[in-house]
């Protein structure tokens, strides 16, 4: 399983990119998960609300069906509620301040050589790596 993980990564990645390509060429929208949800949460995307909800229903429903067929899927999320709440708040605030996350800045930004997307990706990768180094190897919390 470990040896084939990269193949599944590549196949899944191609699917993610194809989904983003579809959303751009058919709907004229950039497929950014934080933007699609965030626009619903803060009300800024009310005019495209149904489209956003439809996207999210697909995003939740199909993994649910596939996971059920595969006999479950593991997220291995930490059981420490403090870490979960802190992480969730940081991801929510950060992605909306930066106007994008891994899908928006990472997939959609880098693929059009957007300077903002590339800079954002460099900073969230560095910040993520630093948190791992600190909280796993120094503090041993995660």
């Amino acid at each position: 399983m470990i040896e084939t993980a990269w193949i599944w990564g590549l196949i899944g990645g191609l699917m993610i990119g194809t989904a983003a390509a579809m959303f751009l060429l058919l709907n004229g929208r950039i497929m950014g998960a934080s933007g699609i949800l965030g626009g619903l949460v803060d009300g800024s995307g009310r005019s495209t609300g149904v489209e956003r909800v439809a996207f999210i229903i697909g995003l939740v429903l199909v993994p649910a069906l596939l996971a059920a067929l595969m006999g479950g899927a593991e997220t291995n999320i930490t059981s420490n509620p403090v870490v979960i709440i802190a992480a969730g708040l940081l991801v929510g605030v950060g992605t909306r301040l930066a106007n994008g996350c891994t899908s928006g800045h990472g997939v959609c930004g880098i693929s059009r050589l957007s300077l903002r997307g590339i800079v954002a990706t460099v900073f969230y990768l560095l910040a993520g790596g630093l948190m791992m180094a600190l909280f796993r190897h120094v503090f041993g919390v995660i």
């Binding site: 196949i11 899944g12 990645g13 699917m15 983003a20 004229g28 429903l61 996350c101 959609c108 059009r112």
Partner: protein, 145 residues
Amino acid sequence: MQRNIFAFLSGALFGAGLLISGMVDTTKVQGWLDVFGDWDPTLAFVLGGAILPMAVAWRIAARRRTALLGTTMPEAPTTQIGPNLIIGSVLFGMGWGLAGLCPGPAMASLSFGGWGGLLFLAAMAAGMYIAPPLRQQIDRRIAQA
């Protein structure tokens, strides 16, 4: 209506890709970020695989004014690198590293993520809710400086 159907299908394919690539598994994401530990390169293949079709799509989009279902294409990317982009990306990366979840996989794993996944989603939504006033504050500070 068509637009909503294709939004659903895009979300569906995105979700399937996240599941199949293993990106809903927080150990894989944290494994990629853990350069000092047992490093897992899977995420690079996922990102690389996702960028390929999207790079082609942007080339097609550049030749069109409207999308196939009638809406206007997104504007050309701005090149402005402001404090919001940097501060936001750093905060996002910190949360991403702590839990190994970003917004897409957090939503995709709603059905099998258990209480931890639900708690993360709730906290993330709360963060998204408080972000706009925070952004205004940052903008105001910059305007004053």
